[in-house]
């Protein structure tokens, strides 16, 4: 195991060095290690000499794709896990970034990350879009199930469960900021005309905030788990978005971030779309 990751890291460093010294990219977004913390932190490498700071380990659980939005219009390389490439795919589908602006160093055969429960539910183990592959791609498909751990609860029990979860929310918006989908110019939370949701941490506003957030994710969320990991309070907000992921997949046969040519869920329709639950 150890050697696999040091191998990957070495490959990334070599390739990054080449790309930077040949001037193919202006910077590379990747993972590095904090001087004092020893923890993984996103780094931005612009000089070939600093390429050695790049690494990849099973602790690298941040979504780097979002940083691409900070560097629109300048050629940027990115060390991308398969989930990052799905995020990039969503950005491409929504035309938030240009394909020619980015250079994707994709990591093949991702085995999932240590802290992230969502990895166990992810069947995408090779990059979806890639310019340069690190490691051998995984050949065989993997069977995963997007578990519903609240399945056995009655609606009332689920309501209570979510009330309890969201009552701990301090509205720091780490979930929002860590999420690659949250790329609006102005978030609904920050709008005061109309004010969609109050800024207090009352149970009412918190619940509303999380419902709105989940609704806004629908058809874009790839169930990467970044929100959950970022949350300092350990709130299970992913249960909602995960459910919508399942629903979109089962009802509309739609899974975001797999095909950059495909429009996102709400940007299109079919004449025979389901009307399940509508009053006839």
């Amino acid at each position: 195991m150890e050697s696999k990751y040091s191998e990957i890291s070495k490959n990334i460093q070599e390739e990054a060095k080449k790309l930077l010294s040949q001037g193919k990219v202006e910077r590379i977004i990747g993972f590095g290690r904090g001087v004092f913390t020893g923890e993984i932190t996103p780094i931005f490498v612009t000089e070939p000499e600093r390429a050695e700071e790049l690494l990849f380990t099973p602790e690298c659980d941040m979504m780097l794709a979002k940083y691409l939005l900070d560097y629109k219009g300048s050629k940027t390389g990115i060390v991308a896990k398969p989930c990052d490439t799905r995020a990039i795919t969503v950005y491409l589908a929504e035309e938030l970034i240009k394909r020619e602006d980015i250079f994707i160093i994709g990591i093949n055969d991702c085995e999932g990350l240590e802290e992230n429960d969502a990895c166990e539910e992810c069947g995408v183990r090779n990059p979806v879009v890639v310019d340069l592959e690190i490691g051998q791609p995984r050949e065989e498909e993997i069977e995963v199930e997007i578990a519903d751990e609240l399945e056995d609860m009655s609606p009332e029990e689920r309501f209570e469960y979510f009330q309890k979860e969201f009552s701990r929310c301090i509205r720091c918006y780490a979930c929002r900021e860590a999420c690659f989908v949250c790329a609006c110019d102005e978030c609904f939370v920050d709008s005061n005309q109309p004010q969609w949701v109050g800024s207090s941490i009352g149970k009412r506003d918190n619940f509303t905030f999380h419902l709105m957030r989940a609704m806004h994710m629908a058809g874009r969320c790839i169930n990467c788990g970044a929100c959950e990991i970022a949350c300092p309070e350990g709130i299970n907000m992913r249960a909602l978005t995960k459910h919508l992921y399942r629903a979109a997949r089962d009802v509309f046969q739609f899974e975001p971030g797999l095909n950059p040519e495909e429009k996102t869920l709400f940007a299109t329709y079919r004449l025979d779309d389901s009307e399940q639950g509508f009053l006839d």
């Binding site: 309501f159 979510f162 009352g202 909602l240 459910h243 389901s274």
Partner: protein, 154 residues
């Protein structure tokens, strides 16, 4: 149970201008009887309705919502209601999963000539919502009540 049936639900009805609002109009001008508990908001098209508005209705104390647009294929703007249909289905999924009684979240289609149908739908929705009783809010404390323990450090 009687308490539940006694209560007068507050229902927000979002009606599209071209079909459903006209249907409501027709129901009214033809003197059809339907329950008075709905508050109508006229919107240009069901495709205009941001799901946030519907979530916000519950945050503000609506006991339920009714959204009605033109029948698929009849949209004044050609396909506004097709887009809306996907959104509403997902919203319904979300609300149901979050434990909000599905009776509170109602979607349907109603053409300009269906005054009778409109009256029937309203009746049905009002009964559905009466069935599940008043909405106590996301905090479960009801509305217009003093929120004492909302915060404090502990």
């Amino acid at each position: 149970m009687t308490a539940k049936e006694d209560f007068e639900p507050k229902i927000l009805a979002f009606l599209c201008n071209w079909c459903s609002y006209a249907a409501a109009d027709l129901a009214g001008s033809s003197r059809m009887q339907y329950p008075p508990q709905i508050r109508v908001i006229r919107v240009p098209c069901s495709g205009r309705i941001d799901p946030f508005l519907l979530i916000r209705a519950f945050n503000s104390g609506a006991d339920g919502i009714l959204v009605s647009g033109c029948h698929p294929g009849d949209c004044h703007y050609l396909d506004g209601n097709y887009y809306a249909r996907r959104r509403f289905l997902m919203l319904k999924e979300l609300m149901q999963y979050a434990g909000i009684a599905e009776e509170r979240v109602n979607f349907t289609w109603c053409s300009a000539s269906e005054g009778k149908r409109f009256a029937a739908i309203v009746e049905r929705v009002v009964n559905r919502i009466k069935e599940v009783g008043p909405w106590e809010g996301f905090d479960g404390r009801g509305f217009a009540r003093r929120e004492e323990e909302m915060a404090s450090g502990e």
